[in-house]
């Protein structure tokens, strides 16, 4: 295989050389090999430029998509690396040092995760990510209590994996209530209360929304669930390490957590399961009975250690990070608003996580704006749905107009974001929006004082 590759490589390069010096002998590869090294035609290309997916990029874009994923903190990687090298043991091996040291590391990580959310280490189950945790929670609880409980309450703005699990339950004959949210993205507690039925088996409401960053009133929801004695599940993937979490204060029975949103590795998450009063689930994965039978399969020691380290770091750095991210958020908002009109922040203003700034730019087409911002890595919404041109279902649930939902951009600010990056992002965004508006006939009409909503668009 290698020789084949080399041969085809040589042929290509030889062909290129031959155009420069047609007289050069092509008889033996050995004769031309030394010449190849010097004549690789890299000088024609800008070394700082790459072409990927048909887009020419002159440098790695500045990263403002922290809700999609975050970079691994070097301190986290430092904790993980030993477990990719000599300490490779299976944590479930009970007969030798390799197993013991891995097991000890996993238990330390369990304690680190538990301490960040105010839980006991015995209540933490490691999974492959928040999606798996959400699946276990929603489907597992209802399957376990299927004889008595036939109803689930959730919201329209949940993450896809919760909504899809609910849809799956519906196909099995369970009933699901999708609570609407207000224009600020928050659930109406009275609507939640009136949706509860005697056979309601679970309330699942996410803590921090992944697209718009609003923080739901967890304590109040927890109180309602306690009153009716219904298990309360929350997807806290976007909240972990960013806002203070206390499972007892919120009265949650199940909580989904993720590693890669908190500067940890991808492919690992955790599920908090309350012990008192005990919540039980039907496992999705059957096998060796690891993680108390909830999630069979070998626990990935390096990933789990990384998640533990990330949690400990998040606990230590939460205050510092929050202060900084708040300042950066203000810088971003003020910078954009100072130069542009018709910019709307989606979701509640007061109850939101500061690192998530979801903005809609009026009279601009969202995809064009994203394409124009190739030096800034941002997204129009969640990464899961960024492939489709449909406007976000979260924004539509908020009652955002179709045109404004199409132009949303989510700026995600994180631990490693700098002031210079924010300034650059502001400058590029303003430049691009102005350019697109200059071309837009709609914007011209608005400038002339025409109300777009009153226009009768005739069909041709």
């Amino acid at each position: 295989m290698a020789s084949k590759l080399l041969a085809s490589n040589l042929r290509q390069t030889l062909a290129r050389i031959s155009t420069f010096s047609p007289l050069r002998s092509l008889s033996t590869a050995a004769a031309t090999a030394p010449a190849l090294a010097t004549s690789v035609p890299e000088t024609f290309e800008d070394p700082n430029e790459i072409s990927i997916k048909g887009v020419r990029i002159s440098g790695r874009p500045l990263y403002l998509d922290m809700q999609a994923t975050s970079p691994v903190d070097p301190r986290v990687l430092d904790a993980m690396l030993p477990f990719y090298l000599s300490r490779f043991g299976n944590p479930h091996s009970r007969t030798h040092l390799y197993g013991w040291e891995s097991d000890e590391a996993v238990e330390t990580a369990r304690a680190q995760v538990a301490s960040l959310i105010g839980a006991s280490p015995k209540e933490i189950v490691f999974t492959s990510g928040a999606t798996e945790s959400n699946n276990i929670s929603v489907k597992g609880v209802l399957h376990f209590y299927r004889d008595k409980k036939r109803h689930v309450i959730t919201t329209q703005t949940e993450h896809k994996c919760v909504l899809d699990s609910c849809r799956h339950l519906q196909q099995e004959g369970f009933e699901v209530t999708y609570l609407p949210v207000g224009s600020d993205g928050l659930v109406d507690l009275d609507k939640l209360r009136s949706a509860i039925r005697p056979d309601t088996g679970l309330v699942s409401i996410m803590t921090v929304n992944n697209e718009i960053g609003v923080i739901q009133p967890m304590e109040e929801i927890g109180k309602i669930c306690k009153e009716f004695n219904i298990p309360f599940h929350t997807d806290a993937a976007q909240a972990l390490g960013k806002i203070p979490i206390d499972v007892d204060k919120w009265n949650v029975s199940l909580m989904s957590l993720s590693g890669h949103k908190i500067y940890g590795p991808k492919g690992v998450g955790a599920l908090y399961m309350r012990r008192r009063p005990r919540i039980r689930v039907e496992p999705q994965m059957n096998g060796g009975g690891q993680e108390r039978g909830i999630r069979s399969g070998t626990v990935p020691t390096p990933l789990v250690v990384g998640m533990g380290a990330a949690c400990e770091l998040a606990k230590k750095e939460m205050e510092y990070d929050e202060k900084r991210i708040t300042a950066l958020q203000e810088r971003l908002l003020n910078g954009i608003r100072a130069k542009l009109d018709g910019v709307v922040l989606n979701g509640s203003l007061e109850r939101r996580y500061v690192g998530n700034v979801n903005l809609s730019f009026a009279y601009v087409e969202g995809e064009s704006l994203l394409m124009g911002l190739k030096e800034v890595a941002v997204s129009s919404g969640s990464a899961c749905t960024s492939a489709s041109l449909e406007p976000s279902y979260v924004l539509r649930a908020l009652g955002v107009d179709e045109d404004m939902a199409h132009t949303s951009i989510r700026f995600g600010i994180g631990r490693f974001t700098t002031e210079a990056e924010i300034d650059r992002a502001v400058e590029l965004t303003v430049h691009q929006v102005e350019k697109l508006r200059e071309m837009s006939p709609l914007y011209e009409m608005v400038k002339e004082g025409i109300n777009l909503k009153e226009i009768q668009w005739s069909q041709h």
């Binding site: 700082n48 790459i50 440098g59 500045l62 970079p71 070097p74 301190r75 490693f416 700098t418 990056e421």
Partner: protein
């Protein structure tokens, strides 16, 4: 951290040397964001701790800083080993266009 309890407080020169080593290590990170963060976090941490007076907390902070330095030194090497060919736009075009 076990040594912190019994250890005597570090001298001013030792603290300054640690500070400078951390900044020097920060500069060795090939990644723009990690480099800036390490620099910023070092300065902010030392500023935050500059008024520590009792010996125990000074030596705790000092040994914590030492640990951070060791991590940074190891990770700067790792980052150099796998530095992407294309650098960050922030490194290539540090000056804003106007």
């Amino acid at each position: 951290m076990a040594s912190a309890a019994g250890a005597t407080a570090p001298t001013r020169a030792e603290v300054l040397a640690l500070f400078r080593s951390l900044l020097r290590t920060a500069r060795r990170f090939s990644d723009y964001n990690i480099r800036e963060y390490t620099k910023r976090r070092t300065i902010d941490a030392f500023r935050h701790n500059q008024n520590l007076s009792d010996a125990a907390s000074v030596s705790t902070a000092y040994s914590d800083g030492k640990t951070q330095l060791e991590i940074a030194q190891r990770q700067a090497v790792v980052y150099q080993l796998y530095a992407p060919k294309i650098r960050s736009v922030m490194d290539i075009k540090p000056i804003l266009r106007s």
